[in-house]
Symmetry: D2
Subunit: 340 residues, 4 copies
Amino acid sequence: MSFQSDTTAPAHPALLEALVRANDGAAASYGNDTVSTRVKAQLREIFSTDLELVFTVSGTASNALALAVLAPGDTAILCHDEAHIHRDERGAPEFFTGGAKLVPLHGEHARMAPETLEAALAEWPSDFVHTTPPSTLSLSNLTESGTTYDVATVKALANLAKARGMHVHMDGARFANALAHLKCDPADITWRAGVDVLSLGATKGGALAAEAVILFPSVMDRFQTLRARQKRAGHMVPKARYVAAQFEAWLENGRWLELAGHANAMASELAGGFTSIPGAKLLHPVEGNEVFIDLPQEAVDALNAANAGFYPWPHGGYRFVTSWQTKAEDVARVVKAARG
Amino acid sequence: MSFQSDTTAPAHPALLEALVRANDGAAASYGNDTVSTRVKAQLREIFSTDLELVFTVSGTASNALALAVLAPGDTAILCHDEAHIHRDERGAPEFFTGGAKLVPLHGEHARMAPETLEAALAEWPSDFVHTTPPSTLSLSNLTESGTTYDVATVKALANLAKARGMHVHMDGARFANALAHLKCDPADITWRAGVDVLSLGATKGGALAAEAVILFPSVMDRFQTLRARQKRAGHMVPKARYVAAQFEAWLENGRWLELAGHANAMASELAGGFTSIPGAKLLHPVEGNEVFIDLPQEAVDALNAANAGFYPWPHGGYRFVTSWQTKAEDVARVVKAARG
Amino acid sequence: MSFQSDTTAPAHPALLEALVRANDGAAASYGNDTVSTRVKAQLREIFSTDLELVFTVSGTASNALALAVLAPGDTAILCHDEAHIHRDERGAPEFFTGGAKLVPLHGEHARMAPETLEAALAEWPSDFVHTTPPSTLSLSNLTESGTTYDVATVKALANLAKARGMHVHMDGARFANALAHLKCDPADITWRAGVDVLSLGATKGGALAAEAVILFPSVMDRFQTLRARQKRAGHMVPKARYVAAQFEAWLENGRWLELAGHANAMASELAGGFTSIPGAKLLHPVEGNEVFIDLPQEAVDALNAANAGFYPWPHGGYRFVTSWQTKAEDVARVVKAARG
Amino acid sequence: MSFQSDTTAPAHPALLEALVRANDGAAASYGNDTVSTRVKAQLREIFSTDLELVFTVSGTASNALALAVLAPGDTAILCHDEAHIHRDERGAPEFFTGGAKLVPLHGEHARMAPETLEAALAEWPSDFVHTTPPSTLSLSNLTESGTTYDVATVKALANLAKARGMHVHMDGARFANALAHLKCDPADITWRAGVDVLSLGATKGGALAAEAVILFPSVMDRFQTLRARQKRAGHMVPKARYVAAQFEAWLENGRWLELAGHANAMASELAGGFTSIPGAKLLHPVEGNEVFIDLPQEAVDALNAANAGFYPWPHGGYRFVTSWQTKAEDVARVVKAARG
């Protein structure tokens, strides 16, 4: 009954098998292998566009590399004040960009409202040498509160950014969960809505360690820069085929969305079960695989007594995360435990 | 017949099996899992000392993190002018340290002579505010020419560095090959000789992607700094158990030295075969799993015709690298091909 | 009638004369001259303590060097969201520190309340490897709204920071104006209250270009680091005697406080005159040499017609800055002009 | 009898007077004043071209800003191994560029030979992601051994660099001395020969603190970047008119070349006098205002006894520097002293 994080889950068997299959004979290093080529083709089909990508082994690396390609060191990155890039990456974006400034914006349920962005843009001019000009907007989808940005909101935010000559990054550590909830076309919520670079995470979705930085056509000419930065950051893994193999198995036949859909369903069920507890209060809409909820102390005690794994959350309440591996009976058991 | 690099080889079956075994149920993230703990115990036994470590997935990352912990940005790192950190890491050491200066020193067979180090130290004072003071000595063992530093030379070099208050880093991307050749105690050629931090590579030795940065007691108090930098660089892989599992299988029962010994033997055999070709000339002593050799054009043509994989080397001649997977018959075949 | 900034004012004659006097024969470079030594003695007396210092030629440089000495790159600097270091230095603190994160806190009249700091400290833990830990508190005195922090408030804020092992920086670009208003002992509002490093600005107070970074005893052991960073940033002016000479003349016989007191008085008078205009509204208490005021459009038009120099302010209203050189008749004229 | 450095000399009276004259009334800050505009016009005439520039107060700052505009952090700067940027700036170029690698090349009399550059370019490819690609060639004129590069050599070196898509920087801390020796057109040895950016120093030539970074037309489109970096580095002095005033007086009516010519003549005279001492040996041709010479111990003792200021030089011998202020009788006295 581990609901601490989707990173405590093991890898999905299909991905592990793919990795074992990849272990066959010599293969070109540094991403020049045939599996890597096939993954690129898969992603081009999924996103209905040409694109470029590099692999990494952590979401922090993906985000930081993405931002390094978009945000020069003397510019600002606008993001939600709960954003992973601001709160949970030990300053990796600042490190990789050479000191770009993260300007944190507030918004309910970890979502930035277009008016908030507009006000911030008014405060941070682009052409005053003394002030750090905004170069990049970064949105998380899923957000850090387990909610989604829908296509219209991404478009509205991206348009504001584009009107100022900025680029748009999407932190998609749980992009599959967002897609599974929104049931929209991957292209519609990314490059067609104005997203230039996507950090696409498979680790939380069933991989051992597999993340990608995807450059859409608007910034594909920065691919050599991205490769150089990937190398310079020690993220150009020599035997890249093993990362590629995970992605291939994850993406094939819609497995990524299927696994995410399952995790989301488990979260909904968990939320449903918990909210029936008197005194429990859902803190954010459940639109992915995370449940943020305020629970009465007895419920918390009961859960701890039952050895259920979950975290108290900095701003109050508790977080429960489901994964591809969460079973309906786990959910039933944890709900039962909470009810005492 | 791939002799391009030990990174084109697949992973050793024992390591892959260990990885598959690790895929069992939930496990704490970020290095707090039980496999990681066991690897630490293994390394403490192997090196006969307490130590701290973090895992990474590339040699470049290991070296850059190691140097970041030792060399403040306004200091200099002394290394051989062929050093991987200087020539092959796209400036990762400069990036991770915040701009430390690599001072390249010359020396035959990619080995730095103590007199050369002494002369360089005389040129770079420690206490003159205008000059970049040397803080760190970095030695590769195996060197970039496939040669080794023996215990006495490491000691001599480290002593010169220590007398100036500097720290010593060893790039051990092929440390197992050096050990297998020197047949010395791992402790004797590292911390007992004055090495503070070792980048220990398993990838070239049979892993999928497994490297470690090892802090010996002299700098163990910098472990939290190392962890912070690992995180900030995106190298704190969430599901660390999979990296740990590779290390555990690699280190257990001396497998790492056995595999390295085999690769070394194959290189010796290859060198022996090649040097019998009229006009062939070994460029460096073969003390590990790399052969640098000048070959007559006909031999090169014949090798290419036979689809043998190998690289011409920047300073002349050709490089052939063997691995845990190289078979005696591969060597026989490539030698036969070269002979025409 | 220039009220744009105290940096548009010329230098005070006494400082210029001192500079001319310093132009006599050879002098040791890089701060080893006798005038520099005398300034250090002056400051030790003024602050009733031992201290170390370096000179720079801009407030941005002083702040950035001060922060570089206090805040490692993977830590956070807490400051007001209007702070000059956050809003007006093009990311110099991020650059000099190697990517430290500025965490902006809100507060009326550009003053941070102790409760606000307390809440922020609760949000940013010190010992969680994923989160950027706060290392430094930076306070501006004068603040960016022309208000002061009194001794008790500095103490209260510094105590909260110290309890978390943080250091405290004071941006004193207009420190003399704050002192002239508060009429407190310079020691009481700096090191005795918990300030470790003071950026002391003379440029706005009558110098051509003279700023200092002052290390109080708590961090005096970082002086060599400060010197190294000063050099590395190109701020170790070769002929330092000319900067020192300005400081000497500025500090001698209380001239710095006298000039600041005059500027403050002019600002009070200006504020008094303006507030008598119907519809005018003072936006912040006038506790230094800056007046932030909302003016009716007719008054603004009249001022522009009279060629009065002043700036509209980003958050609404207008800013008028007085200087050592502002004359009572300038104030009278501008007030008269505004009244129409 | 101070021959330690041209930075121990005072400022020339004409420059000081100009500075005093500039202290008149209010003036726009940050380089928007009228004196700054006039200096730009002077330089355009002197260099027979359009150009852009910013002022700084140290040669280290000028060089580092120039390099920051030319060399991205993951590229290499090729320079002589005695170059000030490599040996005497505490890693400022690494700091300002975000970690660019300085590749030091050897050459007699601190001059890099075209063949040496050619060989280095062969070693450092432009298109291999693992290797740091060269982006910038930096030449000092005067060199660090007091010699000059003539127009033909600058052209030859710049052509090699341009053929690789690199930019060319000239460190002209003593550019006036080089010009006074070469008697060539300033345009011919800079932009017409392929120099993109010039660090032009006036401090050693008679200013208090006045340096400029000059962008020639080939890179003038980087002016906003230069301004942003100047600000971010704390080098945008608020009251810029005082730096501009020094430049104006220095450049007007050829004063800069006249003063440099005098300093050069004094160095020649000094060299002539010293070489008549038995056992004395000139180490480098005297082509500017610096004399590097090996002296017999008795001569050194005699000079010390006479309180002559000069430095022993790291690679052997002694350095004597003359300045605009050195008098023929000073030279006569020091030569006499050395003769014993």
